[in-house]
């Protein structure tokens, strides 16, 4: 009987970095909006979609301008309450925090926010049209995925879960990213607002996960 032989089949493969899903065009700075409805009882995903976030609004560009210029010149920005606020990058403790979105559980003032409004976004939007309250869809804390890149796309991820505890189905039509800024009190500003035609239905007891993946594509 011939002796058993042990051999090695050597193969070399080039492992490409995992491709990051993006619908942005080359050169574009933007975001992807990912939605997933999850049934915690069955462990199944009941609906999932991913689209390009369409609508960075005025306040995003204003804050980027302030931040890049380290501007102590005051920019008048409209907060989510419709009030004009003077925002700048003045020295602590007068004014600080630009782009902060790390809201805690139950906090509907900033972070990712959801609503039922269906009016198309405009650059002048300063808030979500019709907020869905925490009592209807329980807002989790906002979590983050660290920056990553593949050969063409760089990104980081902002995530929030919304558990439907309303007793009935809830259709979510609009999504927004709010930030907070301190000028002696916290002020809240809308950076992104998106509307999805037809919305996404979240049955009672199920959880909607919303990801904003801020991206740039070479």
């Amino acid at each position: 009987m011939p002796r058993a032989q042990v051999g090695l089949n050597c193969q070399l493969k080039k492992v490409e970095p995992e491709r990051i899903h993006s619908l942005l065009e080359p050169g574009e700075l933007g975001a992807m909006l990912d939605l997933k409805v999850f049934d915690p009882k069955t462990g199944k995903i009941t609906e999932q979609l991913s689209k390009k976030a369409e609508s960075y609004v005025k306040q995003f560009l204003q804050m980027l301008f302030i931040k890049m210029g380290a501007s102590v010149d005051v920019i008048s920005m409209t907060d989510t309450g419709g009030v004009a606020r003077n925002v700048s990058e003045a020295s602590y403790p007068t004014s600080y925090t630009i782009f902060e979105t790390n809201a805690a559980i139950t906090d509907v003032n900033y972070g990712i926010i959801i609503g039922t409004g269906s009016t198309a976004p405009t650059i002048n939007d300063n808030k979500i049209e019709t907020l869905i309250a925490h009592a209807t869809m329980n807002y989790s804390a906002v979590t983050f995925g660290a920056p990553a890149a593949d050969n063409t796309t760089s990104q980081f991820t902002i995530t929030r879960n919304f558990a439907n505890v309303s007793g009935g189905a809830v259709t979510v039509n609009e999504f927004a990213l709010y930030t907070r800024h301190w000028d002696g009190a916290f002020r809240y500003f809308c950076l992104i607002r998106d509307v999805i035609g037809g919305g996404i239905a979240v049955p009672n007891g199920q959880t909607l996960t919303v990801n904003y993946r801020l991206q740039a594509v070479l």
């Binding site: 050169g27 574009e28 976030a53 369409e54 005025k58 405009t122 660290a146 990553a148 760089s154």
Partner: protein, 217 residues
Amino acid sequence: MGKIITKLGLARYDSDRQLIEKRTQPSRSWIKHFFDVTFPLFAQQQLTNIPDVGANNRTMGTLSGSPKPNLMVGSPGGSVQQILAAKWNGYSINYYTPLSGQNNGIIVGSNNTAVTTGDNALNTRINHGVAAGELLYGGTEIFGLTFANPNGSFTIRRFFENVSGGDVTVQECGIYCPGWNAAEYTYQFCIARDITGAIVVATTEILEVTYTVQITV
């Protein structure tokens, strides 16, 4: 359809400030470090092992409840200067070396190696100065924030003057900005890099580089 695009403008002027050449191209330049310096602002979380423009791994920190210099691209001209200033907490006055000039804002270089998402710096920076192969760096300005529905935009601009006595060829440009490490130090990170094609800036000429960031909803 909503989007953010960035246009890269390159213009060359003679010593009388008369336009010689002007071109505009889409910028395809925002690279991973743009998100590395932005992430701590959004998340209030620390990042580690982020290579700075010198390829040294740095911590990108947070300092809860304080301003952070991340993303600050406005800059004086020159190379570096010392200024007499108070510390941020106002307890002492001392000399500080602000991140400025050729270390911050719009930077130009002489190498046309393709851009990658992982670039840490321009491949070969053209230094501030009057020696052969150098350009005088003006300040980096941020200006022109305007909105006209559905658009909004602002511009980042820097002028470079050639008094070196010979030609200087620019082939790349980019944007550097600080990242805060939460221990009273900042380091420089490259957040954008573009290949420009060869632009020969003759002695006495001025090069203008602009990045125009535009939102459309």
